[in-house]
Point group: C2
Chain length 366, copies 2
């Protein structure tokens, strides 16, 4: 892997103006470029060499991943020191004229501290340069996402085989998270959402003590983190023998919207058009109101990354960009439906969008 990280750091340096060093402080960005992000670490991409600065020696409390062994690691003299500030001093010592920093992450106070330790160093904005590199995933990253998605599918599949009526949202969520770990996840990619009856179909619903009842819609959204990569899958089921007419009708609409979104995933497609494709189906069926701000988003080392699939989103999709497609409708007081897949954008020649979350999307009555 070491050469992968080195290549990523090289690509970032090409973006930085000549004579300049770069300082990466956002943990997910450090992990992308260095293989791991020990707590409080900062990554200096210097003129003479790259250095990962850490308040303490990277240890188990930083998780299973270890930093790129080819990358020099420097431990600060004081465990309470600010690694970013130390990195700025080191950049100056290396004779850099400018230092590109992540102004969208560094606080005003830390930025001021950087400037004061290296007054001659011109601080410029690296902006979201690393986030942009992270947009398109390599096959190694995609295989981690594939495994993360498989783990979530397994955990969900097992839950569906168990008795659900009478159990609380909270316990179902905890059970799912335990199963994620059982199947080899680092942990949950985000807090598992289990929504029953009137809660169902609501995005990001936090599990409550409400118990599953006959006739409920049950919507579940979970994901696994595997080697840092985070997937997402969401499904909605009916509890009991046969769904009511309104449930079937609503499910069919959301399913059609989600399929329209999935089918719009092609390299070169505008992000907003993917959103519109799904949104249009819901609006045409009279569910224009109460739609969320977006119908999907990128996933990777963070559960929510660029691109955004939203009405005002800029930019186009590229091949090898993993995204979620997750339209939902929630009818206050009644509940609703949410269907959420993680897919990888692929061109037609490669078979079109690759579905990572393969749990069935037919309306199951449990």
């Amino acid at each position: 892997m070491s050469e992968v990280y080195a290549a990523r750091r090289e690509r970032l340096k090409e973006r930085c103006a000549g004579g300049g060093a770069a300082l990466v402080s956002r943990p997910a960005n450090i992990r992308y470029l260095a293989g791991a992000a020990p707590s409080g670490a900062a990554l200096l991409l210097g003129r003479s060499e790259d250095v990962l600065l850490c308040p303490r020696p990277p240890g188990e409390e930083d998780g299973p991943q270890r930093p790129d062994a080819e990358l020099r690691t420097r431990v600060l003299d004081t465990p309470d020191g600010d690694a970013a500030v130390a990195a700025a001093g080191q950049a100056a010592a290396q004779g850099a004229e400018s230092l590109a920093v992540e102004e969208h992450h560094l606080s005003v106070a830390r930025h001021r501290a950087l400037a004061s330790v290296a007054p001659r160093l011109r601080l410029v904005d690296l902006a979201r340069g690393v986030e942009q590199l992270r947009l398109v995933k390599d096959e190694e990253e995609i295989s981690c996402l594939r495994i993360a998605a498989e783990i979530a599918d397994q955990a969900l599949g097992e839950l569906l085989e168990s008795i659900l009526v009478g159990r609380t949202e909270r316990h179902l969520a905890l059970e799912l998270e335990r199963r994620l770990v059982d199947h080899g996840a680092d942990g949950a990619a985000f807090p598992t959402s289990v929504a029953t009856g009137p809660h169902s179909g609501r995005g990001g619903h936090r599990p409550t003590d409400r118990r599953v009842e006959e006739g409920d819609f049950l919507s579940v959204c979970l994901g696994a983190a595997y080697r840092g990569y985070r997937s997402e899958v969401g499904r909605t089921f009916v509890i009991g023998t046969s769904p009511a007419d309104w449930q079937i009708e609503l499910y069919d609409v959301v399913f059609a919207a989600q399929r329209a979104g999935r089918e719009a995933l092609t390299p070169g497609a505008a992000c907003r058009d993917v959103d519109r494709a799904a949104r249009h189906v819901l609006a045409a069926a009279g569910y224009a109101e109460g739609l969320g701000p977006r119908t999907g988003h990128g996933v990777g080392l963070e559960i929510t990354e660029d691109p955004q699939l939203a009405p005002a989103a800029m930019g186009k999709l590229d091949a090898c960009v993993p995204v979620t497609v997750e339209p939902g409708v929630h009818l206050p007081g009644r509940g609703g439906v949410r269907i959420d897949d993680t897919l990888v954008v692929r061109c037609e020649a490669d078979g079109g969008p690759e579905l990572l979350t393969i749990t069935t999307k037919e309306l199951l009555a449990l």
Copy 2:
């Protein structure tokens, strides 16, 4: 509760220069002043009125807490908008000359966006003004911490009654977190740490798949979040019938250090002296090396708050400040001991430090 939040906001305003408004962006600080911190919210303490600005209407996804009903809530026009930026615009519209912002939290990029929407507004630093208010807790806050500590004690007590040998660190940690929720916690206050054998005694150890074995030290650190308030308790046990001599010797030293730290908790005591009291006992026994950077820290709405109990810490303790006392020793390859309590600083007349985590600290053989 409403008047409690109003009083806190008043106290903060007294710190802001005349004619000035204040903008609070750190979620824990918003929660302290407004009763809840909906995702993406910002709190404006204006000249004419206080307003909580939220990207979306506060909903269940923001958790069980609702914002102070007496506080005006304004929902942004766009769900992707930056509430802090909108608040700056509103402060300018209210005719404020200056706006105190949290420069230790606001990113450089957001700070710039604030300045550009309100060019006439002089942006000054609120610094850690809210964090300072949060140092000393009122009895309402302390009772939340007391309940959080009881919940963690219950979860830990139940675990000790179960069979431990052969179970993995990971599963014991998940089991503890499930029990925290069973007993009424909002959730875990921080990732539960279970460390066995050679891992034991290491602070912040992340649970692995290592299984509990006869003769192991087992150190556990967990906490509950209750109404947003977070406690912490850590204990070390021996697995099997009788501890080895080195285990008894090491346990006694850490126990003595932890007691020395607890007994040093009095109003007016220097934070560094509390640290020294515990550290001295360990150093005298020959465990000077490998001690953590601090032996304790404040707790409250965040699991790690001021004050810090560390060699270089400034400041003195006040009554009604809850802190942890958690010295530990880890012998590489062998394991170690960590004992962690949450206590509230009280004066002698009130009976001295109040221990919130009452699980026994005698060396139990399980």
